[in-house]
């Protein structure tokens, strides 16, 4: 999928000023809140952390607390399942299917 990174390699789901589009499958199926808590350093580039440690790409790592991102993703998936079940129920009702 396509994401967008700013000059600090932070990820976004929408384009914006100063953002560069990159392709990655790391975020396939992930919700925007999850994606936007990550930093993505493309191959061939490097990022220097505030303490001076250098990380070379390709690297993908959360800059927000991963627990928050994971919780957001789980809630996103729970809602998706609920929507699918609702849609399935409506189809079953329309077809007169009884369990």
């Amino acid at each position: 999928m396509k994401i967008y990174i700013d000059p600090d390699f932070k990820c976004y789901t929408a384009p914006g000023e100063g953002r560069t589009a990159v392709e990655t499958d790391f975020f396939d199926g992930k919700c925007p809140a999850f994606i936007e808590g990550y930093r993505f350093i493309p191959s061939g580039e490097h990022w220097t952390r505030e303490d001076g440690v250098v990380f070379v790409g390709e690297m993908v790592a959360p800059w927000k607390d991963w627990r928050e991102l994971d919780a957001a993703q789980r809630e996103y998936e729970r809602q998706l399942i609920a929507e699918y079940e609702q849609a399935l129920s409506e189809i079953e009702a329309a077809l007169g299917v009884t369990m």
Binding site: S43, V53, E58
Partner: protein, 331 residues
């Protein structure tokens, strides 16, 4: 500072040296007052800074070294007048020479000729830890566990700075050589999961995904994967990553096979119960991928864990490449 002692006879060449915790309102001409709470055991004047062991309380007034015939450190100008040029005052306390605030009473006023040694070690250490700085028998302790400490050191020397959090410790030494010096040091814990020559850390297990491609002994982990299958390993159990900022793999890539794709994928994430590979994208919390080719120099491959505040498994995957992992640590 030039002192001028005049008068008749040898008795008039005396001057008083005494200790006080604060400067008196006035004194006698040529009095030397040293601000200290340590009683003066004995004092002397000498033209070099003291470096040797002494007796607690000994005071050492340093006069300027003789630069040349024109600039001696003691100058007898005429009868009964001796000029001394005081530049520093030291006192031996708890095994170290400490510089002191010191004053001379001259022409009806106190004039400072020595200041307490002031140097700063700006220390960054893992928040929640205790931090100490030690030189000889002097130990300074950080006032809190915030993770930063501007440590004002009272004397030159080799200072050992140590952070401690439970069983994790990290110490480094810094040399303070001059007054006013300011330097920075960062301490981070390095916890070895696998160490060259020692193997796996006690309490942790190496689990190969495809044992024919990946194995470990006490010296190193070997991966030998010249095909397109994923040779991989995980380390069990999971580890609380919240006190670490990086996972590091010390890797020597020996060869890569140009006929196909090749890569190393490494980082932390959820446990995968059976043959895991990079298609398990959803199982990673943080990872990096290297497609370095050929036979590069042994190097450390890092992944940032700044945002990983939870327990995760360490994972390492290979495809189309052969080499060794000598060390794996968290820091």
């Amino acid at each position: 500072m030039i002192i001028n002692m005049s008068g008749g006879g040898i008795d008039n060449l005396k001057f008083r040296v005494y200790a006080a915790t604060s400067l008196p309102a006035s004194g006698k001409e040529n009095d030397v007052c040293i601000i200290t709470s340590t009683p003066i055991f004995r004092w002397e004047v000498f033209p070099v800074a003291p470096t040797w062991e002494s007796i607690n309380g000994w005071v050492y007034i340093q006069n300027a070294p003789a630069y040349s015939f024109e600039y001696p450190n003691v100058n007898i100008l005429k009868k009964n007048i001796i000029w001394l040029f005081f530049v520093k005052c030291w006192q031996y306390e708890n095994g170290n020479w400490s510089s002191k605030d010191a004053y001379q009473y001259r022409n009806g006023a106190w004039v400072q000729f020595s200041t307490v040694f002031r140097a700063t070690i700006n220390i960054t250490y893992p928040a929640g830890s205790t931090c100490k700085a030690t030189c000889g028998s002097t130990t300074l302790t950080a006032p809190n566990t915030s993770g930063t400490w501007a440590c004002a050191v009272p004397n030159a020397g080799t200072w050992t700075v140590m952070a401690t959090d439970g069983a994790s410790t990290k110490a480094e030494t810094v040399d303070i050589t001059q007054e006013g010096q300011e330097l920075s040091i960062e301490l981070s814990y390095r916890f070895y999961l696998f160490m060259e020559g020692q193997g796996m850390q006690n309490g942790f297990n190496f689990e190969a995904s495809l044992s024919s491609y990946t194995s470990a002994d006490n010296n190193r982990i070997t991966y030998n994967n010249n095909c397109q299958l994923w040779g991989a390993f995980q380390i069990k159990p999971n580890i609380d990553m919240s006190i670490y900022k990086s996972i590091c793999f010390d890797v020597d890539v020996e060869a890569t096979w140009q006929s196909g794709s090749y890569s190393l994928v490494y980082g932390v994430g959820a446990y995968v119960s059976s043959n895991f590979h990079d298609e398990n994208q959803g199982t990673w919390a943080a990872k990096a991928t290297s497609t370095v080719a050929g036979n590069p120099d042994r190097a450390v491959y890092r992944v940032d864990l700044s945002g990983v505040e939870s327990a995760q498994y360490v994972k390492f995957l290979t495809v189309g490449t052969q080499g060794y992992v000598y060390n794996i640590w968290l820091e």
